[in-house]
Symmetry: C2
Subunit: 356 residues, 2 copies
């Protein structure tokens, strides 16, 4: 390594899920340095639904005593380890929702590092040496180069940030399930994830059917590339779309969508993948709901570095970008969290560095 | 048509799901004759879990005032319509769990007639002209030739009967999900369906891992072709089989299997298909259970005629057959129903004609 980089950073974190907007600024230890690490100064960080689920305890208690959320991170490289050839000091890069995996298993070797059983989340997690992983509502982050991404020049930093979790989370299942010309793809829920999914599916060449319970989202859906907009409050919608869809990506709260009706719109052997990870389980789901067309319900977890690069290339070429409600100073993280929690955001908040 | 065939038959039916063993013998109307119909005198009928779910009301109330169950039917052709070239009077044939579909839609044209939205179940259902469809605990059945199957000479009638629902229900999802050489297939539950699934998966060339909560099923599982037997009461089983399975077919009650643990044994993008259709919904299932490997949970419904023929050919070639606990006279249907309901059957009862 060329020089000794910083060992700590400062961030906005919380320590009690019952007081999830009580952010305190503290110093914390960065990942223990290795020759494969990249260190960056953070400039922007998107505010993700995961941040809300985590700090409100919706997905369970905290795994660390004090937690800095944020995993849609854009910044400038300040240090690279000796093994790092892909990045240079000063380069603009991003970090998403994963900061480590074993890098040795089949899954890691086959561009499925997001499914490595030793994967480490960007925050509310610990590195193997027990150093706590803290997120992007902070001044800096350090992690293994596999989990650092180049950002194409054509994409503005604040637009790139939400791509790294929201974008990737929808892009990966879309391409893994054949989204492209000749396919009819359903997108359920138009929020931080869904509004990017509509654009990706459209620009990948598919016919895009958007399902929503809010009629006031129709205009946005069409502007983003939806070919058709379907109100799920219309109790006839399932009949109209029977046997029409090749794949459905649900970015809505999985526990409240009209699951049986949506499944019935799938062709034989079709799949509905839910990337909306709710606090509550499905209600009254039986295999019978999938017996009339051999449909299935699937899960997905972010995406691989290969997919990040593919996504950013497509976004740069096609002008795909998030609709950003507001860029707020990081000190207003609480305001952003409340806006996401109360479903007021249209469609993403991005925090801008104000600690460094 | 060469002559006017019978218009009625006699059967054992029930009229109250609370008194599901109170079988009465009555005469009922056969399907209204068309030139595409085959009429057969029934010799044997298997007793399926569906019979129990239906007549006990587990899947909901009856759709007809009096219901003759039974959809694993073997008999001899007594009449064929003018359009029927595949079958001759006197020929041994079978009928399974479906007796009609529209025969015009894409699904019907593409060997997916079991997923036709106008499909008619063999019993507890009505034909489009409102004639009630009655099952195989009876003297005769008439239906469209598409839903009548030739039985290879090598298979005994009592062995062929359970193939037509139990066999097909597992064979179709096995072959549609790639069961064959080089694949590792999990079978959950060893009962009427599972004990056939093990044999099919084995003879299709896959490595077969059987999951069960009963250690007393191990010997049977191995004899039927299981390469490994896994006790799901061992709380370490999921760790041992992590990332090992290509596909899992669950023939157990879907609401009580250790679903999250089973899903974790699947490779990336693997599927668990449940053909066990329980009375109760899944408990506490969230998409999170499928997020760690992009797994999915699917359904399936019997199979197509093409698959019946493929299954019976394989069974004849490889000597695959059900283990029949007992062949009972049809008048003892109640005994068989209780044996299935109380999970005492090992592994199938077959009823023999005693009314004709």
């Amino acid at each position: 390594m060329s020089s000794s980089p910083q060992t700590t950073a400062k961030g906005y974190g919380i320590s009690d899920t019952k007081k999830y907007t009580d952010f305190s600024v503290k110093e914390f230890k960065l990942k223990t340095l290795t020759p494969d690490d990249v260190t960056l100064d953070i400039e922007f960080c998107g505010v993700c639904g995961s941040d809300v689920h985590t700090i409100t305890g919706g997905w369970g208690g905290l795994n660390v005593p004090w937690c800095v959320p944020g995993h849609e991170i854009i910044g400038k490289v300040t240090h690279v380890g000796d093994n790092v050839k892909e990045f240079k000091v000063g380069q603009r890069v991003g970090v998403g929702a994963q900061v480590l995996s074993c890098l040795k298993c089949n899954r890691c070797h086959e561009d499925n590092e997001q499914y490595c059983p030793e994967q480490v989340d960007t925050y509310n997690a610990k590195f193997p040496d027990e150093v706590e992983a803290q997120g992007g509502y902070s001044t800096a982050i350090r992690t293994n180069q596999r989990f650092v991404f180049s950002i194409p020049e054509a994409i503005k930093s604040e637009d790139a940030a939400p791509m790294l979790c929201a974008g990737l989370t929808v892009f990966s299942p879309l391409i893994r399930n054949g989204t492209g010309p000749g396919k009819t793809i359903g997108i359920v829920g138009i929020g931080g994830l869904g509004h990017l999914a509509i654009q990706f599916a459209h620009h990948l060449g598919a016919k895009v059917i958007v399902f929503s319970h809010s009629s006031n989202k129709e205009k946005d859906a069409k502007n983003l590339g939806a070919d058709e907009f379907v109100l799920t409050s219309d109790d006839k919608f399932a009949d109209k779309y029977f046997d029409k869809l090749d794949f459905i990506l649900s970015a809505a709260d999985a526990s409240v969508i009209p699951l049986a009706e949506l499944l019935s719109t799938l062709k034989i052997d079709g799949k509905l993948t839910s990337v909306g990870l709710p606090d509550e389980p499905w209600k009254d789901l039986q295999p019978q709901a999938m017996a009339s067309n051999a449909a299935c319900i699937g899960g997905s977890h972010i995406g691989s570095k290969k997919e990040v690069n593919q996504m950013l290339k497509l976004a740069a070429e096609k002008g795909i970008k998030p609709i950003i409600d507001e860029v707020l100073p990081m000190s207003q993280a609480a305001k952003a969290i409340e806006g996401v929690k109360n479903n007021k955001v249209r469609y993403r908040y991005v925090l801008k560095q104000d600690l460094a």
